[in-house]
Amino acid sequence: MEWLIALMIGVMTASGVFLTLRARTFPVVLGLTLLAYAVNVFLFAMGRLNIGVPAVIEAERLAYTDPLPQALVLTAIVIAFGMTAFLIVLSLKARSELGNDHVDGLHLAQDEESLHATLPPRQADPKRHADHPFEQTDALIASTTTQPIQGERQQ
């Protein structure tokens, strides 16, 4: 039984780490969920693996399993559940606000440009006008921010 539990924790952790490193929010959410599962089983196993012994006090029993990890796992499950629900909602919010489900949202450079686009147009300052980057980028931003990014990898 020990090797099976150990293998299970290992596989779940490895899959969880792999998925959290993905670039889309949905695999990241799945990865965090798997990591939470792995850690729950791990916590459970830290009370040692016993078969057929109760955790709560019974009259004729002499051997008990450790009840504390079970309480810890219960707490951890509740917390992980709440956090995952929050992350899913946040991912949906990010999907609708950022235009795609990449963890970095729109490409960074374009976000920076769109920031500059909020500045009012400059007038009557010829000294600065020459090296002013906003005029050239305005058109670019208008054409890209509302659409999905070109050349994004299909999954």
Binding site: L90, V103, D125
Partner: protein, 518 residues
């Protein structure tokens, strides 16, 4: 003897938060009043707790009258009392600013989240149990997710997503570390763990060391230790100003946890494992400091720059903890008081400047002069001097104390070189941003300057400035009271290093007798 004091700073924001939620129908003004009164009450209780902590040995409160190590205990010693007091001071400034600038009207339940955030922070500072620390971390994180995303904006959502994801990974690692420690030591009470580590079987040392370093990783995420700091600048730069100001204490939670958990578990009694975490903290702290200094130079907006300054101050504190002596810890705590309050004030100031610049926001491009540029510029100069550690303000004294404590350390040349170099870079960065924001201004083009002035009239500028000024005035108070405060931090540091008394108090405080309860 058992007193009621340790649980009050935890209980007030919890019950208060629920009451503020119930007062939702009473309107925002009622919620504001309640929230401010609650923070004031918290401040009074913190001062009381501080007096108790100074006069008496660590106070232990056993929740449900289950004595340690079987039940969960709250421990009030000077270090936790200090952290709770700083939190209350910072929260008062941030909340006042939020109310005056109507930040709390941007979304629902700002005050509820604010109180729950304080509940989580105070709980994390007061608990004496590792798993309970995890639970309070989750409470403060969940509230911080809500606060971080308060209001809206694309950049805020993106930074929030990163922040939430990395902290969820941190929570999972925390559980792995706690589980491994429990599996070997069979206890979760910090004091009891320290006892068990002292008599550890040599073959179990590897597991405990691995779990200890895993815990360091978790606290490193909170404290923004290199290479785990990358979430911080964007998250702090893109959230609302009062939240960013309150978050100045969030990185210190990680530092506190390192001092409390690692300092106790891997203190002198730990044999082969003693000081396990120290080289990591010291060297990674130095690297963090350099990266933060580069960050201040590379920042494109004032808020991002202040976020990097927070990172630099955290790095200084990490180095101070890594030196591992009473003098160094005392200096670190002095710098901690300074950096938390000044960073909070600086975030609020950055917001005032950014709002005054209208559409130019806080970006480092020349724009029209802000309204009240003289006042804001002078305040910026004051904050910049305090933050970058120039005399005569408290940042200078904090750094001098830490550096003089570093002279005994074998690696002192590296420490001094990195601290001074990064200080120089921060001064350059702040000088550049100050001259861009206040000197190198464009002539008014007649369009957005009145709009900006209107915007600042709409909200209460004077009231908001009061919050900034009172937080920044900490720099003067810390200098004026440097001697008594130095003595105080010295006594805090002595108590932290006096682990036997802590263990004795936590493990041998008896349960309250039934007669006393009746």
């Amino acid at each position: 003897m058992m007193t009621a004091t340790p649980f009050l700073p935890v209980l007030i924001p919890l019950i208060g938060g629920v009451l503020v939620l119930l007062a939702h129908r009473g309107g925002l003004n009622l919620q504001r009043l309640m929230s401010l009164l609650l923070v004031l009450a918290l401040l009074l209780v913190s001062v009381d707790a501080m007096q108790t902590a100074i006069q008496m040995p660590p106070q232990v409160y056993a929740l449900g009258n289950w004595i340690a190590p079987f039940g969960i205990v709250l421990v009030l010693d000077q270090l936790s009392a200090l952290m709770v007091l700083i939190t209350a001071l910072l929260a008062l400034g941030a909340l006042w600013y939020a109310v005056k600038r109507k930040v709390d009207a941007q979304g629902a339940h700002f005050h509820v989240l604010f109180q729950i955030q304080l509940f989580g922070l105070n709980g994390a500072f007061l608990t004496g149990d590792v798993f309970n620390l995890f639970v309070f971390f989750e409470v403060l994180l969940l509230a911080s997710y809500g606060l971080l995303l308060h209001g809206s904006g694309r950049l805020r959502t993106r930074a929030g997503l990163h922040y939430v994801a990395i902290n969820l990974i941190g929570s999972t690692l925390f559980l792995f570390a706690v589980g491994a420690l429990y599996g070997v030591l069979g206890t979760l009470n910090i004091a009891d763990m320290a006892n068990k580590i002292a008599h550890l079987d040599p073959q179990d040392q590897g597991v405990v060391a691995a779990a200890g370093l895993l815990l360091l990783l978790v606290f490193g995420i909170k404290a923004a230790l290199f290479p785990l700091y990358l979430w911080l600048p964007q998250a702090y730069a893109n959230t609302t100003a009062p939240v960013a100001a309150l978050f100045a204490i969030m990185t210190k939670v990680g530092l506190y946890a390192i001092i409390r958990v690692h300092g106790t578990l891997f203190g002198d009694q730990a044999g082969d494992l003693a000081g396990l975490h120290l080289p990591w903290i010291l060297w990674l702290g130095l690297i963090t400091m350099l990266m933060a200094a580069f960050g201040t130079l590379a920042a494109r907006g004032l808020r991002e720059q202040v976020a990097y300054l927070v990172l630099a101050s955290v790095a200084t504190l990490l180095v101070g903890i890594g030196l591992n002596s009473i003098d160094a810890l005392s200096a670190t705590l002095y710098y901690l008081i300074h950096s938390t309050l000044i960073a909070g004030g600086f975030f609020l100031l950055a917001d005032l400047i950014a709002k005054g610049r209208g559409a130019y926001d806080d970006r480092f491009v020349s724009g029209p002069a802000t309204p009240k540029a003289m006042l804001l510029g002078a305040t910026f100069l004051f904050a910049a001097i305090a933050m970058s550690g120039l005399p005569p303000l408290s940042g200078f004294f904090g750094k001098v104390l830490i550096l003089s404590a570093a002279l005994d350390h074998p690696a002192f040349s590296w420490i001094i070189a990195v601290v001074l170099l990064s200080g120089l870079m921060m001064i350059m960065a702040l000088a550049r941003s100050g001259s861009l924001l206040f000197y190198n201004t464009l002539p008014e083009n007649g369009q957005d300057a009145p709009a900006a002035a209107d915007a600042s009239k709409e909200h209460d500028f004077k009231g908001a400035y009061l919050a900034v000024a009172s937080l920044l005035s900490a720099a003067l108070v810390l200098v004026a009271l440097a001697h008594p405060l130095g003595q105080f931090t010295q006594s805090v540091a002595q108590q932290v290093f006096d682990a036997p008394t802590y263990l004795q108090q936590v493990l041998h405080t008896p349960a309250v007798a039934k007669e006393a309860i009746r």
